[in-house]
């Protein structure tokens, strides 16, 4: 027989609320106020003309697509219209608040 679990005590720290998207300006807001803008780790070559084809293709098309924590950009389109970097675990959609910098 497997263990008989006792009562489960969820955190009372408001963890669920932390799963809303934290706009560094406007606060925790519903996902419907935002639009997704892709992988935040993708960096556009500073001087594209100096990038070779491989580097440019890497920027345009290749993605890490990690299964786990994912650094991504969201835009608060129905709010302050700022783009924000969000750390989100794509296996369960949990969001870690980001520094507004």
């Amino acid at each position: 027989m497997k263990k008989v679990p006792g009562p489960i005590h969820g955190s009372t720290e408001g963890n669920n609320v932390m799963l809303l998207i934290p706009c560094p300006h406007c606060g925790l807001r519903d996902q419907t106020e935002f639009s997704y803008c892709g992988d935040a780790t993708v960096t556009r070559p500073a001087t594209p003309e100096d990038a070779d084809d491989a580097a440019w293709i890497e920027y345009l098309y290749m993605r890490d697509n990690p299964k786990g924590p994912h650094d991504e950009l969201w835009q608060h389109v129905h709010g302050c219209r700022q783009l924000l970097r969000v750390g989100r675990d794509v296996t369960n959609h949990e969001i870690k608040a980001e520094d507004p910098s």
């Binding site: 027989m1 497997k2 263990k3 008989v4 679990p5 009562p7 489960i8 005590h9 969820g10 955190s11 009372t12 720290e13 408001g14 963890n15 669920n16 609320v17 799963l19 809303l20 998207i21 519903d30 996902q31 639009s35 803008c37 556009r44 070559p45 001087t47 594209p48 003309e49 990038a51 084809d53 440019w56 293709i57 920027y59 345009l60 950009l73 835009q75 389109v77 219209r81 700022q82 783009l83 369960n92 959609h93």
Partner: protein, 923 residues
């Protein structure tokens, strides 16, 4: 109402209600459910089963009931597959049984039962394959046999609403455990919500949501709740409300659902869960039968038996499947250990059960079987915690052998599972028994008619994962989502595979917990509210003046303005001709407009467009084209320099939003060092284009302080002033290729300005024109637009804009131009097409081949982008994207439109049909 007790229950005996079921009239009380009222009236059979059309009755008392599905209501308010156990009775209620013809009692399809030995689980995968062309006929029959109720055929007349809400603590389940959790949380000063499918007690300082199901747990602490209206709510009240509740903390006190036991013919009307029989007694003062037998595998049956007896139901026997040293004693009731029910009998209602002792292997001893007369058989197979929402929230389950159930095993932040839902205070139970040699069908899933034999067959054939079992047999896939079936399915599969239940696995719990009305999900996003509609400042004028509209994103733009008796094509031709010959005005307020402020604006524009913007002077405009970084054209428009650090950009109508987001992305993420502020000012301005050789004359007729002569306002210049007392900006830009101006005024003056323009042009025969004439004019002029020509796969060079590509600066997308795929050879070029005979219309959307027949060796040369009739050239013309098109000017090709059997020989020509030197627009 002989089955109704004279007292008791939570019903209002002063309010008698009349209702009809299958055409017969019955009475019940306020506070009844349809199920309790039917039981009180002695109605046992309420429907026919999905596959074998067996008579089915009321089995449960709430959302767990698998079989008491009826159609509620008539006509537009008909509601199929409604669980009678969850319908609050109201006066005038009308309900019908389902899945039978011609009647519930005499159902022809019940004859399928005779064939059932040839229709095991998944039989359709093994047959109906040959001959292939017969499959549609077989399938037609299968489809008509399947389905449950009938969908309504009329528009739903009711209103649904959605509400957003927020709270500190959400308690799901209004039983004793939930109530106490709610009271505690409220005492701590929290904003507490308590939801229950029924009507729970209402503690102080708690928002109580009765008739409400928490059906789903979504991201971000979002819970979906479905609230049913009560039967005596106001007429304009929504039928259902879908609450989108964000809770900081959730207490799941959803209780546990009783399990049936598995034996032959365990589906007859009169067989029900013990908890349901008790519920009918307690809440509705209804005896579910007169003489009951209880069959059990746990101790909860004995307390239940006492309650049934107290309620006036004779309990003939308790059949306990367990092998126990000592027997419980209940006065007036035979108690048998180590016995099982092995069969039941009774058409249209239970008459007796057959029981037998079990041998050491757990098999029945047939020689010792005997009958017990009864009209009610109560099943007491243990309790299954309702862990759906916990599981949806990502909680993992563990199997607990003592109660033969899955219980929460891991922490889910913010979610606490309490009471029976957590497996607490549930009587120990043994597994469900399916007797291997029983003659009749032993049902596991009463709704989908899945039997123990089906489960064994699936296991035998290799469908051994629980997910395979579910999909192969359809176990648990009915509208009850297998609330009473799933655990027994696992038990029987475990037995077939000789595996402990804990190792069999579990299927995923998916939302919704109980079915949720599609209308409730749609809420008020119906009719005109399906999507927003945008209106220009002149919309009312267009409506009042007979415009025919065409959707353009969220806008509805005037397509053309037909004169009385005029055909659409005649109207368009007239409008396009009048613009070239005289003057016309068109509402272009839908174009995106963005204010750009800041010291780095010129530099920013220079990086955004393919052409240079640093030399743009104050008072002038410039046309620009933007690429995506993959080198494809993204948008085009004009930019006007208003001041040292102030510019106004226009975008296409469709791309106004995406362009704004694109600019914001580059400013904030890629070039944060640039100091530029963006504001959408689309809505601030009403813009009218005035085009045609008489455009200047028209403007000069206005009461204005501006000068419009060529020197005062040259091509691509702009000026600010006033028109008739309205502040205005006039831009000399042209989309039609004619002398043209765009007149912009603050939106609140848009209609006034439009009317002034019409008045000023009256003597010049000015006309309003729509987007179709606009298209005709721009095709005549060889202008591309986003969509037909620049379809997201076209480069600047493809469109013939390579001359605009600045060589002196970098810009978005430039690097991609060096990729092999963007080398000019073999790409589609924008060209014009003329029909070789000068008159045959070029089919829109045609493909272009290099020969008249679509032979396999024919080379595909491209496609027609936009085809119009040019009233000014008096012949059909088109733009097209043709492979190496600029090198094929003068060549003959064929436009093929197999959709309408047309093949038109066409000549490839330069795309500018009118005024290639641009003299008209500079005039």
């Amino acid at each position: 109402m002989s089955l109704r007790l004279p007292t008791g229950g939570r019903i209002d005996r002063n309010r008698t209600l009349t209702f009809r079921f299958d055409g017969r009239t019955y009475h019940g009380y306020h506070g009844d459910t349809l199920a309790s009222a039917l039981l009180a009236n002695g109605v046992k059979v309420v429907g026919r089963s999905f596959k074998y059309h067996r008579p089915r009755g009321i089995f449960g008392a709430g959302s767990e009931d698998p079989s008491a599905l009826v159609r509620l209501g008539d006509g537009a308010r008909a509601e199929p597959n409604t669980r009678a156990t969850q319908v609050e009775l109201y006066d005038g209620l009308v309900a019908y049984s389902q899945n039978n013809w011609p009647s519930l009692k005499w159902d022809i399809s019940a004859a399928l039962g005779l064939l059932s030995r040839f229709l095991p689980a998944g039989f359709y995968y093994k047959t109906f394959k040959w001959p292939g062309k017969f499959w549609p006929y077989y399938e037609h029959i299968i489809r008509h046999m399947a389905g449950m109720g009938e969908a309504p055929t009329d528009r739903d007349p009711d209103r649904y609403e959605k509400r957003h809400a927020h709270c500190d603590v959400l308690v799901i389940g209004g039983g004793a455990t939930g109530l106490s959790a709610a009271k505690d949380a409220a005492a701590e000063g929290n904003d507490v919500w308590l939801v229950d499918e029924g009507i729970p007690e209402a503690p102080a300082n708690v928002t109580v949501m009765a008739r409400t199901t928490a059906f789903g747990k979504y991201d971000d602490g979002l819970y979906g709740l479905l609230q049913q209206s009560s039967s005596d709510q106001a007429a304009n009240a929504p039928r259902q409300i879908l609450w989108l509740l964000r809770a900081k903390r959730v207490v799941l006190a959803s209780g546990a659902i009783e399990r049936p036991l598995v034996f032959a013919n365990n589906d007859r009307p009169g067989i029900m869960l013990t908890s349901a029989a008790l519920r009918y007694l307690d809440s509705f003062a209804v005896r579910a039968g007169r003489r009951a037998v209880i069959v059990t595998n746990n101790d909860s049956a004995y307390e239940a038996a006492r309650k049934l007896i107290d309620g006036g139901i004779e309990v003939a026997a308790i059949i306990d499947q367990r092998h126990m040293a000592e027997r419980h004693e209940i006065a007036g009731c035979e108690v048998l250990n180590n016995h099982a029910v092995i069969d039941t009998a009774g058409r249209g209602g239970l008459r007796h059960v057959t029981i037998a002792p079990l041998d050491v292997n757990g098999d029945a001893v047939p020689q010792a079987e005997r009958r017990i007369d009864c009209d009610l058989l109560c099943l007491s197979g243990g309790f299954t915690p309702s862990v759906h929402l916990y599981s949806q929230a990502g909680g993992k389950l563990a199997f607990r052998d003592d109660i033969q159930s899955l219980v929460p095993d891991t922490d889910v932040p913010g979610l606490e599972v309490v009471g029976a839902a957590n497996g607490d205070d549930i009587a120990q139970a043994s597994a469900a028994i399916a007797l291997s040699h029983a003659p009749g069908k032993q049902f596991i899933d009463l709704q989908n008619d899945v039997t123990a034999a089906d489960v064994a067959l699936a296991a035998r054939e290799g469908y051994r994962s629980v997910e395979h079992l579910k999909r192969y047999t359809t176990l648990g896939m009915g509208t009850d989502q297998g609330k009473t079936a799933n655990l027994n399915g696992i038990a029987v599969l475990g037995r077939a595979l000789d595996k402990p239940m804990a190792d069999v696995g579990v299927t995923t719990y998916r939302p919704p917990y109980t079915p949720v009305t599609i209308g409730a999900f749609a809420g008020r996003d119906v009719g005109a509210f399906l999507a927003p509609t945008r209106r220009t400042p002149m919309q009312e004028w267009h409506e009042d003046n007979g415009a025919v509209f065409v959707p353009a994103g969220m806008w509805r733009r005037p397509h053309y303005y037909p004169s009385p008796g005029e055909s659409p094509s005649d109207a368009v031709s007239r409008e396009a001709r009048m613009v070239r010959q005289g003057v016309g005005i068109v509402d272009v307020s839908t174009l995106g407009r963005i204010d750009l402020h800041g010291p780095d604006t010129a530099e920013f524009l220079n990086r955004v467009y393919i052409n240079g913007f640093k030399t743009l002077a104050i008072g002038m405009c410039r046309y620009g084209v933007m690429l995506r970084d993959d080198g494809m054209i993204f948008d085009d428009g004009t930019v006007a320099r208003m001041d040292e650090e102030h510019y106004i950009m226009t975008t296409t109508t469709a791309n106004a939003g995406p362009v704004m987001a694109h600019l914001e992305h580059y400013l904030q993420v890629v070039w944060p060092e640039l100091d530029v502020h963006l504001t959408s000012i689309t809505d601030q301005w009403a813009v009218t284009a005035v085009a045609g050789p008489r455009a200047r004359q028209l403007l000069e007729n206005l009461d204005s302080d501006m000068e419009f002569a060529n020197q005062a306002l040259p091509f691509m210049g702009w000026r600010a002033g006033q028109i008739g007392g309205i502040p205005a900006q006039v831009y000399r830009i042209s989309f039609s290729g004619e002398l043209a101006y765009e007149v912009a005024v603050p939106a609140g003056h848009g209609q006034a300005c439009w009317e002034m323009l019409l008045a000023a042009g009256k003597a010049l025969d000015v006309i309003p024109y729509g987007t179709e004439a606009l298209t005709t004019l721009r095709v005549e002029k060889g202008h591309f637009v986003m969509g037909p020509e620049a379809d997201g796969r076209a480069s600047a060079d493809d469109i013939g804009l390579s001359g605009m590509l600045s060589k002196r600066k970098d810009f978005i997308g430039r690097r991609s131009l060096r990729l092999p795929a963007l080398a000019p050879e073999g790409r589609l070029n924008l060209v014009g097409l003329l029909p070789v005979d000068g008159k045959t219309a070029i089919p829109p959307g045609a493909l272009i081949l290099d020969r008249a027949t679509a032979a396999p060796e024919a080379e595909k040369a491209g496609h027609v982008a936009t085809a119009v009739f040019s009233p000014n050239l008096d012949q059909p013309i088109a733009t097209a994207m043709v492979i190496n098109g600029r090198g094929r000017l003068g060549a003959q090709l064929w436009a093929h439109s197999p959709l309408d059997n047309r093949i038109v020989p066409v000549e490839v020509v330069h795309p500018v049909f009118i005024d290639p030197k641009g003299e008209r627009l500079r005039a």
